[in-house]
Symmetry: C2
Subunit: 338 residues, 2 copies
């Protein structure tokens, strides 16, 4: 009998989630039947989008249910298999995170190719959903041309750090914001042209505008990759050059808000500047995965692309890891080691 500890949604958060919204339980996961696989998770992912699933409302993914185990990306090893094509020791990814082990039909798993020089958990970050999100959103929506200026918020996060580095690889000037000096130092070490600590820079508009003017590029930005929303979005509209493209990946600044947040007060500039503000969900770009994987492995091998991880230990710490996303306590990908 395999036991698994798991995290359940105890109550829907009102505002910023806290420990009381989660509960730890232990279950017996049973043994795999025909066509099923028993997996022991090694790492699980916590991601900002999960906050949206804690509201009881229709969206692009169904809401989590109170009292039920949470879901999310995870990687693990096959322990026992009743399914063809899966053998003990195989590395797999699934959406059965927030738990230590599980039995699932083989169709719900993806077998992963272990990569030399890349730890397995990279499949939850730089080589996984967050990496593809940054890569595809930048390429397909931002469409930066060499010499253009790309602005990315949350630049040291799992998605933003990919955007910032890929934009440099594409020949752009890059302005990135982050919430600590250490994150800004990491961005500068990665060759990012302008790293701005939005918590200490004073007026964010002035800081971004002066970074953009340092480029000589008419003092504006051509692409904005938004992970944050709120003031950052308003600033980006203000400094946008005509025909700038906004890849709207997320607006974490508003995810926990108890009331409607006013939108950008300068949205009227969308007309006069012919701006394109385009939201997206990574699943739209699933078809890019082979190209994404090839590009990323090449850039990693060439030393052009690096990443950070922030790791909590133990499934019981998963709520803390998740809650920490909203105060920016992660640099790079936030993970839980199981």
């Amino acid at each position: 009998m395999t036991k698994s500890r798991e995290i359940r949604l105890k109550s829907r958060p009102a505002g910023t989630p806290d420990a009381s919204n989660f509960e730890l339980a232990t279950v017996d996961v049973g043994s795999p039947g025909a066509g099923e696989v028993l997996v022991r998770n090694s790492f699980m992912s916590v991601d900002p989008y999960m906050r949206g699933r804690m509201y009881d409302r229709a969206s692009y993914v169904p809401p989590f249910q109170v009292g039920a185990v949470l879901q999310g990306g995870a990687i693990g090893e096959v322990v026992a298999s009743g399914a063809e094509g899966f053998a003990p020791g195989d590395l797999v990814s699934s959406m059965f995170g927030w738990r230590e082990a599980f039995v699932a039909p083989a169709a719900a798993l993806e077998k992963l190719p272990r990569q030399a020089g890349v730890p397995d958990q990279a499949f939850l970050g730089v080589l996984g959903m967050p990496g593809l999100t940054g890569y595809a959103g930048l390429r397909e929506i931002g469409r930066p041309k060499p010499g253009e200026t790309v602005f990315v918020s949350g630049g040291a996060g799992a998605v933003g750090s990919v955007v910032a580095q890929v934009a440099k690889i594409m020949g752009c000037t890059v302005i990135a914001t982050a919430g600590t000096d250490a994150k800004c130092d990491w961005l500068r070490a990665r060759g990012i042209d302008h790293a701005i600590n939005y918590k200490t820079c004073g007026n964010l508009l002035d800081a971004v505008r002066s970074a953009a003017q340092a480029n000589g590029n008419n003092g504006g930005i051509d692409v904005y990759f938004d992970n944050v929303g709120g003031e950052h979005l308003e600033v980006a509209i203000e400094v946008a050059r005509p025909f700038a493209r906004f890849a709207e990946c997320g607006m974490i600044s508003g995810y926990n808000s108890m009331e409607a947040i006013p939108g950008p007060r300068n949205i009227i500039q969308v007309v006069g500047k012919s701006l394109c503000i385009r939201g997206f969900i990574v699943s739209e770009f699933a078809g890019l995965r082979p190209q994404f994987f090839a590009d990323m492995m090449g850039w990693i091998a060439a030393g052009q692309l690096a990443w950070e991880e922030t790791v909590f230990e133990g499934v019981d710490k998963a709520p803390d890891a998740f809650i920490g996303l909203f105060s920016g306590s992660n640099t790079g990908k936030m993970l839980v080691k199981l």
Copy 2:
């Protein structure tokens, strides 16, 4: 000696323009030299975008200067010509509106082909800049497919009435808002599926949502053509289906505001619904003019496309006509007969 009365900007409006912001003057326009043409205007256009040029700020067109004659679209007849290709009696369009007559280099004029069954002033409306704005914005940004639902605000205006009718021609269900029952009646007579008087409908969101649900189309809209901004934009985001396209043509509700207006409080839905909000200026689509002209003449001849005009008489009434745009006192194109 040809005298011309003209309207000058006396002072920059604070908030909604009033008569005190304009002054009438009479000038001697002289005679055309070599390469020049003397034109007597027959109609001039007033358009919402002109309000933006009354602010002293950089934009896609330079600001009007206090004390100088205003500018804008006009049509007229050549009276005397020192330029090859222009002869007395020719119909021409120019940007020398807000005046009765003028002398200008031939290069600043466009010769217009008089059309059977279409009055000359249609070149300021349905066959002119507003018509192209609606046609091109709907086609190139809205990209409606047959069977989709198109929502247009300001649906009885010069631009909106073209959008609403072309969307019907393209096989869409059309929801349009307007500010009087008479405008809504006109829209219904043109075959528009749902005409909503936004001033009397009560809750605009409920009214638009229930119109959209009447289509069975999952109760949402696929295209929003925005002339209004403000609450209309927020409503459109709320009822948008995934991957809806927003053609942001104008936001007249905010043009006279003395303070920054909060943007849409639900802008976060841009992410989850993968919306595309794209502003534009008609000049981007100048290359579509031949196709536009051919399509429009065909639809007019077939009785599929009609238009209204609201005409003020005399250049001295031009400020009233312009000011009237912001209270919706026009049905269709607002013109001044000179």
